[in-house]
Amino acid sequence: MNPMLEQFLFEARESVLSIGQLLMRLEVTPEDEEVMAVLFRIVHTLKGNSGLFDFPELPRVLHEAESLMDAVRHGEVAFSKDLADRLLEAMDFVGLLCDEIGAKGHLDASYAVQSARMAESLRSLLAEVEAPPEVAAAPRIVLSPEDARRLVAEMPLSAQDAASQGMRAGGEFNWLEYSPVDDCFFQGDDPFFQARGTPGLLWATIESSAPTLSLADMDLYRCCLVFRVWSIASRAELDTYYRFVPDQISVAAFPADCFAAPDVEPFAPDAEPVHAITIDDDSLGAGQGIDAAAEVSLPGPASGPAVAAVDDVADEGPASDLAGVLSLVEIQSAILRMPLDANGSLGRTAGVVATLRGCLRAIGFRAKLPELEAAAALAIREGTVDALVAWLGQAFLHEPPGPGPSSNKEHSIAPSGESLRALRPETAVAPSRSPMSGDSEMRFGRRAEDSSASSKTIKVDQAKIDRLMNLIGEMVVSKNALPYLAGRAEHVFGVRDLSREIKSQYAVINRIAEELQDAIMQVRMMPMSFVMQRFPRLVRDISRKLGKEVHLVLEGEDTEADKAIVEALGDPLVHIVRNSLDHGIELPDVRIAAGKPAAGTLQIRVRQIADRVHIDIRDDGKGIDPAVIKQKALEKGLIDEATFARITDQDALSLIFAPGFSTMDVVSELSGRGVGMDVVKTAVENVHGVISVESEKGKGTTLRVSLPLSLAVTNVMIVESAGQRFGVPLASIVETVRMRRSAIRLIKQSQITVLRNSIASVISLNQLLNLSEEQLINDDDELALLFVRHGDERVGLIVDEVVETSDIILKPMAGVLTGLAAYAGSALMGDGSVLMVLNVEGLLSCQ
């Protein structure tokens, strides 16, 4: 995609986001003028930017939003929740358009209609207070029979013929008036092209919609044309063709009897299709255009110079330079005439002088430079601009020295045309380069060509950071070769001193590598506010829709975590919040009946504890009743009768994470959509997170999510079993223990043990992995156990030996191996061997 469009979309999304936030702030403090001003500025900027691209839908909506906010800013319209709703909706639409443009690079035609509707909806809010603005241009007008006949008669006979035949054949015949807006040229419209391309075009005329002004007052960049088009295209076709400017056209169907005029009839004999004449719409449109232009320039004495000036502008080269210079000089002269203020005027004068200097050089009129410098020096010395104005008058405008025209409006461009024409021959004589003496010393600030101004932030492609991250990851792994080398030096080659040196060198490299890793991690870190900033809006919208009052409390938004984790969290968190609002927090009257404040509280709290981020989402709603959950789970066949009988309340609560579980009988509009908490759980676990739920009936529910800060480097415990090495993610390990074999009892088929006064089941790793070997016992008749987290339980894994912990870069299983739930992935070790890393959850679930 075009980088500028990309930049625009990026900025537009940011703007839409902050507009939303500001609107919500205004809802709380509608009187806050500062917020209003910022809001207005952002909308204004966004509108301006959107004009750079060829997506008329965007500025159309934004323009109305801007007008509306302007009215609010000036107190013409009161700020209300409904108004905020409408504006938020419009911003959502703009966001949608941006996404669409981002995804497809263009907008489907259907958005044009939507945007017109959206703009209309915004305008209607304005119209409620404004005096009815010129009877909201009824797009469908009805022609009186006289008008219709008169209009038909305006066409040449051949076109009338074609139209009447078309109508007799059952086709439509429409008259369309297209009045482009004044500033349409700046919106990228080409009204002439637009009108000429009208489908089914038979005939067209162009008229001027404004009285012809003298050249000085004429704004050449303002469109004041009305196109009248006769077309045999259907109404729908015309609407589609003019879909970008629906508010600028009005269409009327000709009645069937419009050809009834006796002087037309004879020329359209019934059964003579041969008579059909194809209209060369090229010559038609163009000819009419020239006519119209001639007409415009006819009346008034100003017409002569006007055409001449237009010719000048159209010419390439010095002529157009002259025109530009003229208008610039005029502006400068107007600036000089502006009332002086104490401080700025000297600088302003200097600016004007610099501009004039540039102008003189641009038209190669350097001979006048010394005069300018002299006048400027005088002006600056004496603190008045009279000298400069006088010089300007006689040098450029051929005015007699003395009081010039007082206002820039009356200041006509016409006489200067003469004077510049007089100048032109001189410019041909190349004047010697005049030394620009005072130039550099009059500069603002100092010259410092070599001190390059540095920016404090740089934008980097994420792929580059990922690459760096990978490389550092590889390095972290390869540094692990050093302890291995040290071990070999000592045990295999018996050089203990070398081993010690290697170890001390390793410590240095290790420290640097860790810092490096930390640094790159910092680069990838992103504040949680990235996902949390959308919650105020989300909560506001949902609670309004549900008729609930909710007070949202956000804490710790600036806590940072790896980009991948923050991004992966967005959807699950939104879902949790939706659930809390939908199922958790009660309606106000229910809450009051239960003795709670009418407004519920939803608290989202983020903290960093050690190398994990903890997110608590707490509501003070009705809580979850374990009994209901159990009952549902039983009905849905998620648990059997036996489990139902002995399951603890906590375990019952965890059932909400089971696939296929939803307590709502009717799938609700909000949390429904077939997404259950199991999806949330999977999403959290995908980024190595843990989710749990706590709830007290009647008091509220808390969902706790815990995530690692980063995904890049995994800390594993390396264990040995059946002669092989396996990695177990440290995050899932509770503790490692050596236990006498007798401490493990066999109850029915399963082994259990008592660890710190609580019972834990025990299982041997070999058995889980289907290896036939028995677990090894050390000399003291002890087994090595690794207690790991499995859901909310602890499970002891019997291994042969616990070796060491190590930082690894976990590579997920690829290809057919992805189906192996027992493994999280593999890692390359420092000595070149491959370590299989176990996925404890997956391993224990598939037993």
């Binding site: 600036i335 000297l346 600016g351 641009a362």
Partner: protein, 122 residues
């Protein structure tokens, strides 16, 4: 090489103006608001300013006034705005702008205006 400072809070507009000016051969720097523009101006001299009206912290008018209050700050400035009203233009001129363009500016228009004001890039 002649150096131009674009003062605008919208990155899209900065990029747009930068492209036009760089294609004409000028060196371009950017500032996101009036304050940053002043800071940059203190570090090095520019030959021309292209200034947006609406900006956070210090807007275009404020920046131009500040610039012109440096007494001899005679660097030409073009103000760009979405407003076509003559009142807005007068305000820009009063603040110290030397020319006024309406956004979105046309590339040729900007190029030729800049060349009129400060000549060829080199």
């Amino acid at each position: 090489m002649k150096r131009i400072l674009i003062v605008d809070d919208a990155g899209t507009v900065r990029m747009y103006h930068r492209k036009i000016l760089e294609s004409a051969g000028f060196a371009v720097e950017e500032a996101v608001n009036g304050i940053e523009a002043i800071e940059k101006s203190l570090q090095r001299a520019f030959d021309l300013y292209i200034v947006d009206v609406n900006m956070p912290k210090l807007d275009g008018y404020g920046f131009l006034r500040e610039l012109r209050e440096q007494k001899l700050a005679q660097v030409p400035a073009i103000m760009v705005s979405t407003e076509a009203e003559s009142a807005d233009q007068s305000q820009a001129y009063a603040a110290g702008a030397n020319a006024y363009l309406i956004k979105p500016v046309k590339p040729d228009e900007l190029k030729s205006l800049v060349k009129l004001l400060i000549g060829e890039p080199r």
